[in-house]
């Protein structure tokens, strides 16, 4: 008997609305995840995660842009480090940015909370593998 795994909850934090639309569309078309929450910047995401009412709706994976107004990706990572122990759930984080700046890439490598650095747009097979791995660990 084949048991379909529980769907992976994805989250994208990016102020580029066009990209967010495309990303969600892609996950949908490829049947990778039907449950995607989006935030315009780091600050919105942090307030959502902090709210106990959302405790059962936390994502499994976050795709995080770097350059955003109000709270950028790096600032989000700092805030996230503060609250991650209280979340009661392991959340995998990928940086998803169009920056090819070596400083950004190195900085992401040094942060143990970040699984990898993906340069936009995104390779579908790469994305598929990420979700497959997430399913395996679930």
């Amino acid at each position: 008997m084949i048991v379909s795994p529980p769907p992976v909850n994805a989250c994208i934090i990016d102020n580029n609305t066009t990209y967010v639309y495309g990303f969600k569309k892609l996950l949908n078309l490829k049947n990778l995840s039907s449950r995607v929450c989006t935030f315009n910047n780091g600050s919105e995401a942090i307030s959502y995660f902090k709210n106990p009412l959302n405790a059962n709706n936390l994502p499994d994976v976050i795709f995080l842009d770097i350059s955003m107004p109000v709270m950028d990706g790096w600032e989000f990572m700092n805030e996230f480090a503060e609250i991650k122990s209280q979340l009661g759930k392991k959340i995998t984080i990928y940086i998803l940015s169009s920056s090819t700046d070596i400083n950004d890439i190195e900085r992401a490598k040094k942060n143990s909370d970040i699984s990898d650095y993906i340069i936009k747009p995104v390779d579908v097979s790469r994305l598929a593998k990420i979700f497959r791995d997430l399913n395996d660990t679930n």
């Binding site: 580029n16 066009t18 990209y19 639309y21 495309g22 990303f23 569309k25 892609l26 078309l29 490829k30 350059s67 107004p69 109000v70 600032e75 169009s98 920056s99 090819t100 700046d101 936009k120 747009p121 995104v122 579908v124």
Partner: protein
């Protein structure tokens, strides 16, 4: 022929003749009437010959022994009866070429006719030393002149100052009047006086040498760069007894160096801006082209007409933003090319008033109070389009980020400090958290508020325009209190 023979025939003369022949100097005698010539033994030996080794003759003396260039001096002296001054002539010695000799010339008239006589002594060593000293002197003074260098000395106890002639040349003082230390220091430009005074005090008190480059105003009111170097002379007890040093006119080189330095800074600045620009171009275009590529792929992935329409509308919107980005980049490129445009004298007030009336509806809508005061500096030589853009950006920014709970108060004024002109822009708006955004506030596409019409381009352009003309922009801000921009225009 020698003196002991013939002429000095009586007793006393014979004695004298013997003395003369034994003296370590050459004695000669010449009878103008008879043309007879006599040389003492010393005359031969002083030239390195044995007595009578060479013929004692006028011809031999003038054509062989006497250096040809000294002939006319000798002949002149012979003819000039009053000349009592000894002559300096070169004579050929047997062993070591021409040597310098000093010869006296005396004229004596007796019953035998007119006799001229004199004594020669070898002064070669002295003369060579003198010539060498003169050569050294010339070399020294020429070196000093070419190096535009003067030397001086200060006595520690009395502070008595001794100056070389070249110092007066550098000071452009006509006469070599005695200067006190304070007077000598007063020639330096005001802001450098304490520097040189301090250096001299240190050299006197703590035996510290110094080497400084300072601005100096000469007696003829020329402002030049000089190098002032001082070295203490220390006694056995480790105390400075005097300070010795130089002042050198280094104006030419220093100014070249300074202009080189400023071009280098300009170049470094331009390079940095260019690099920044390249980075912005690549980053901003990549984010759009990435989106475009992404959407096109997505378009191909789906067959559903509804999806395709939706995706296409996004492609259209990317095309629009791509266009806007190119426009922004164009604005930046324009800044670089407009630098070469003519600057002209502009009036802060008239530009400010124009902008105020252009955005009057915005100001009225917010009931903003706008104050300005350009009395400290009313005009500036600037590229007019830049000044308009700078003032407009700052004014619209101040309105855009005004505090919702109070009447916006915006103050704009100019300040003059030394050679710089500052433009200050203050508001009582919502402020910005500089702890978090300090280094990003002037970056491109950096917005810090949820404000929907924030484009993140205005301050970026403003900074570029200011920096392109060699100025700087700084910001101070407190959240909920207000923001102050300080712009150093030149």
């Amino acid at each position: 022929m020698s003196f002991s023979e013939d002429k000095f025939s009586d007793d006393s003369r014979l004695h004298l003749a013997q003395i003369i022949d034994n003296v370590n100097a050459g004695i000669w005698e010449y009878n103008i009437n008879t043309r007879a010539i006599k040389w003492s033994t010393g005359f031969y030996t002083i030239l390195g010959y044995a007595p009578n080794e060479i013929e004692c003759s006028n011809h031999l003396f003038f054509e062989h022994l006497l250096y040809h260039q000294d002939k006319h001096i000798f002949l002149n002296a012979l003819n000039n009866q009053n000349s009592a001054k000894p002559l300096q002539i070169r004579l050929l010695t047997k062993a070591s070429g021409y040597h310098w000799f000093e010869s006296t010339i005396k004229r004596h008239d007796d019953q035998n006719g007119h006799v001229i006589y004199g004594s020669i002594i070898n002064i070669n060593q002295y003369k060579q030393a003198q010539l060498q000293a003169a050569k050294n002197d010339l070399l020294y003074s020429e070196t000093i002149r070419i190096a535009k260098l003067g030397s001086w000395e200060i006595e520690a106890g009395t502070l008595n100052l001794t100056l070389s002639k070249q110092i007066y040349d550098i000071y452009e003082l006509q006469s070599q009047v005695k200067l006190t230390l304070d007077e000598a220091i007063s020639f330096f430009e005001p802001s450098y006086r304490s520097v040189i005074q301090h250096a001299i005090n240190n050299a006197l008190e703590f035996c510290q040498p110094y080497d400084l480059e300072l601005l100096f105003r000469t007696a003829k009111n020329n402002v030049i760069w000089v190098r002032a170097k001082g070295v203490p002379i220390i006694d056995d007890f480790g105390k400075s007894v005097k300070v010795r040093g130089i002042i050198q006119d280094i104006d030419n080189n220093k100014r070249k160096g300074l202009s080189l330095e400023s071009s280098l800074n300009l170049l470094t600045d331009q390079n940095r801006r260019l690099q920044n620009f390249a980075y912005i171009v690549s980053h901003n275009l990549r984010s759009h082209t990435g989106n475009l590529q992404f959407m096109v792929n997505l378009y191909e992935e789906t067959e559903l007409a509804g999806d395709r329409n939706e995706i296409f509308s996004h492609i259209k919107s990317i095309s629009g933003s791509l266009n806007a980005t190119i426009e922004h980049l164009n604005e930046i490129v324009k800044i670089q090319t407009e630098i070469t445009n003519e600057r002209s004298i502009i009036s802060f007030e008239s530009i400010f008033k124009n902008i105020q009336s252009a955005i009057k509806s915005n100001i009225d809508a917010l009931n903003a109070r706008i104050e300005y005061d350009f009395s400290q500096c009313q005009q500036i030589s600037y590229i007019p389009a830049y000044m308009e853009s700078i003032l407009q950006n700052l004014l619209t920014n101040a309105l855009k980020y005004s505090h919702p709970e109070r009447q916006p108060l915006i103050r704009c004024y100019t300040l003059k400090d030394r050679n710089h002109i500052y433009l200050i822009f203050e508001d009582n708006g919502i402020g910005i958290d500089l702890e978090r955004y300090g280094d990003k506030i002037f970056g491109m596409y950096k917005t810090f508020h949820q404000n929907p019409d924030a484009r993140g381009i205005g301050l970026f352009i403003t900074r570029n325009q200011i920096e392109a003309l060699g100025g700087t922009i700084k910001v101070e801000s407190t959240v909920n209190i207000g923001t102050k921009f300080t712009i150093k225009l030149v």
